[in-house]
Amino acid sequence: MEPPIYYKRSEYIETDTGNKVSRRATIAGPQNIILGGKTIIANGAIIRGDLRRTGPGHAVVISLGRYCLIGVDCVMRPPYKTYRGNFNYYPMKIGDHVHIGSNTVVEAAQIGNYVEIGKNCVIGKFTIIKDCAKIADGTIIPPNTVVPALSLFAGSPGRFVEDLPESTQEMVEAQTKQYYTRFQPEADAR
C-alpha cells in the first residue's frame, strides 16, 4: 500500500458521511449540491451549485456519488443551453468512484461510475461519459461528446485511443477506496 497523503485537519471539514471538503474550495449554492459520502473536495476547487434550473421547488444542480475526488483547482459547473427558446442550466450527475485530476474544468451532463479524468482536462458542455471510461491528462473533450464505456480518450480534441481491460471496474474501485483511506489528517501530536 502506498504511503498516506496527509492534510491539515484545520483545512478540511469532515461530514458525518465521511465527505472531506476543503475550506479553501469555493462552493456556491451548497443547498443544491449532493455529495454521496466519502467524497473529497480538494483545495481551490470551484463548484457552482448556484447555476440552477429555473422553476419552482428544490433543484439539484450537482450530484456526486461515493468515493469521488475533485482535485486541486478543479472547476465543476453545470452546462447550459436554450431549449425551446428558454435559457437554462441543466443538472450535472456524477456516479461513484470518480476521480477528477487537478486543474480540470468539467461541464459534463453525466459522468458514470468508475471514471478517471486526468489533470488539465477540459470536459465540454453536455458531455456524457459512460462507466469505467478514462480521460488522459490534458485532454480537451468538445461539447456534446459521448465517451463510451471502457474506453480511453486523449488529445485535443479528445479522441478514442484504446479499449480498457474488463478489470477496470475492480481496479478503479480499489484505487479510489485506497485513496480515501490514504487521505488522512496529520497526527495531532507534536
Binding site: A28, G29, I46, D50, G124
Partner: protein, 178 residues
C-alpha cells in the same frame, strides 16, 4: 520597487460583479456585464475598460501590462480559466475555456478562441472579424457567420439569466461611486 497602483473601480449600476474577485488598478465595467466569482482583473500599468453585456466566468484572468488603455468591447464571453492580456477586444467574441491570449494580439469582432488554445505570436497580430482559432496548434479559420443570430440570442438570454440568478447566491460588489 513596483509602481504603486491606484485602485479605482467604476462599476455600472446595472453590472453584476461578484464580491469574491481579485481586482486591482483602474477598471471600468459597463452596463449589464456579469463577472463571476474568482475572476482576476489586474490593471497593472494602464486602465481596463470592459464594455456592456460581457460575461466573464470563474477563473478568468484579465491583465493589462501596457501603459495604454485596454478595451474590451460589448457582448464578449470569456469562459472559465481563460487568460487575456490583449490590448483590444472587439464585440461579440468568445474566448473559450482555458485559452490564453498574449499581449501582442488584437482581437476584432465575432472571433472565437477555442478551448485550451495558446495564442502567442512572435510579433504583433490582429485577428480579423470572424476568425476562429482552434486545435492544439492554434490554427486559424474564418467563420461563415452562420448561426450568428442564434448565438447572439443565447448570449443575451444567458446574461439575462445570470443577472437574475447570481445575486441570489453571491454577494455583489458595487463601484466607488455608490
Amino acid at each position: 520597487m513596483p509602481p504603486i497602483i491606484r485602485d479605482k473601480f467604476t462599476i455600472h449600476s446595472k453590472a453584476i460583479v461578484c464580491q469574491d474577485i481579485e481586482i486591482r488598478g483602474d477598471v471600468t465595467i459597463g452596463a449589464g456585464t456579469i463577472i463571476h466569482p474568482k475572476v482576476t482583473i489586474f490593471a497593472i500599468a494602464g486602465p481596463i475598460f470592459i464594455g456592456n453585456g460581457c460575461i466573464i466566468e470563474e477563473g478568468a484572468i484579465i491583465i493589462n501590462r501596457r501603459k495604454d488603455v485596454m478595451r474590451i468591447g460589448d457582448d464578449n464571453l470569456l469562459e472559465i480559466g481563460c487568460r487575456v492580456e490583449c490590448p483590444e477586444i472587439g464585440n461579440f467574441n468568445t474566448i473559450a475555456t482555458r485559452s490564453r491570449v498574449h499581449h501582442n494580439v488584437r482581437i476584432s469582432s465575432f472571433c472565437v478562441i477555442g478551448a485550451g488554445c495558446l495564442l502567442a505570436p512572435t510579433e504583433d497580430e490582429t485577428l480579423d472579424d470572424y476568425t476562429v482559432v482552434y486545435g492544439p496548434s492554434a490554427e486559424l479559420r474564418t467563420w461563415s457567420g452562420r448561426g450568428k443570430v442564434q448565438e447572439a440570442d443565447l448570449r443575451r438570454k444567458h446574461a439575462e439569466y445570470l443577472k437574475e440568478m447570481l445575486p441570489k447566491f453571491n454577494r455583489l460588489r458595487r463601484g466607488d461611486g455608490t
